[in-house]
């Protein structure tokens, strides 16, 4: 008449209990990881946009000085662009690796290509340039593209 639980019954009931606890805990962590992901991507987008803005400003500055719009970045390839807040200049450095950006943990690399002839390596006289701003963060990457032309009211 004495009835007890078998081992299988006990194991099954504990597994069910454990699963429900894990699911609930997972749900609560999921909320927080989504939050973190939103923040990381927002920062990454800002960093990528900043790269495009530096490229645009650099073109305008070179025209202001009476130089080719692509002076300083006149070879097809990858560069690091940053704004130095001390000397208030946009600094350009040829680099194959991404460089640290405004936000800690984010690295950015700007690629310059001839938009009309992608095989052209000398961009000095190019009419249009495709500028890509790639941002690396955590184990992720985002990329923004823009096409800059020589067009300027003074030319």
């Amino acid at each position: 008449m004495n009835k007890a639980f078998t081992l299988t019954e006990l194991v099954i009931s504990f597994v069910i209990l454990l699963l429900s606890v894990i699911i609930l805990v997972g749900l609560s962590f999921n909320y927080l990881s989504i939050l973190n992901s939103i923040k990381l991507r927002y920062f990454a987008l800002n960093v990528a946009q900043a790269g495009i803005e530096y490229a645009l400003a650099l073109r305008n500055q070179q025209i202001e000085k009476g130089l080719s719009p692509w002076a300083g970045v006149s070879y097809k390839g990858t560069y690091c662009l940053n704004f130095n807040t001390s000397n208030r200049r946009i600094e350009v450095m040829s680099s194959s690796n991404p460089c640290p950006a405004e936000f800690p943990g984010y690295r950015r690399l700007i690629t310059y290509n001839d938009f009309i002839d992608p095989n052209n390596t000398n961009l000095y006289n190019s009419q249009a340039i495709r500028v890509s701003s790639e941002v690396y963060f955590e184990r992720d990457k985002i990329k923004l593209d823009v096409v800059l032309t020589r067009w300027h009211p003074t030319q």
Binding site: S28, L32, L35, E53, Q61, E102, P153, T154
Partner: protein, 179 residues
């Protein structure tokens, strides 16, 4: 014999079961509260971040289409696309915030309930031209803005340090767009 077939729980069994039941209820309650807190945190964080983004993007857009910039380290005055006078500067009363003033009419950039403003700094380039030169020679080509804010969630405050770069479109024009 009949009395022997009536079986109940012993006191020890009852105590063990009650203890297990109480422990499970306690764990379930903690998980539930954690879940609710996470949901509240997520929702209010999203609201605060949206409010910050809306304010920062508004400033970005106005600078992008602005001209005739007069800058100090933490304030900016310029003409917007309609050539209205626009000022952006921090205020400490009634609470810390950024003021967005168009032709003398001022508005707060951030919602005080959602975003706690800490600081606003502007870095900018040094154009080579003089005021008598063409506009494109004296116009600023790049601004780098640094916002420090705390996002207010119902549970905690989340610090946010955001950098935004903007190259004004009008900085290529020969003539001052608001002359």
């Amino acid at each position: 014999m009949a009395s022997n077939s009536i079986k109940g729980f012993t006191l020890l069994e009852s105590i063990v079961v009650l203890f297990l039941f109480m422990t499970l209820i306690f764990i379930a309650t903690q998980i539930y509260f954690n879940l609710m807190n996470s949901a509240i945190l997520a929702q209010s964080y999203q609201l605060s971040l949206d409010n910050f983004r809306f304010g920062a993007e508004k400033i970005w857009n106005e600078i992008k289409n602005g001209s005739n910039f007069v800058i100090s380290s933490n304030s900016l005055e310029f003409n917007n696309r309609r050539c209205q006078n626009l000022k952006i500067y921090p205020t400490s009363s009634p609470s810390s915030n950024l003021i967005f003033e168009i032709d003398g009419k001022s508005n707060l950039i951030f919602d005080n309930e959602l975003v706690e403003f800490v600081s606003f700094n502007i870095y900018y380039d040094n154009p080579i031209g003089n005021p008598i030169d063409s506009y494109y020679k004296m116009a600023n080509k790049i601004f780098l803005i640094n916002y420090k804010v705390n996002l207010k969630t119902k549970i905690t405050k989340v610090p946010l340090d955001v950098w935004q770069a903007v190259a004004p479109s009008n900085s290529v024009l020969i003539n001052n767009p608001c002359q």
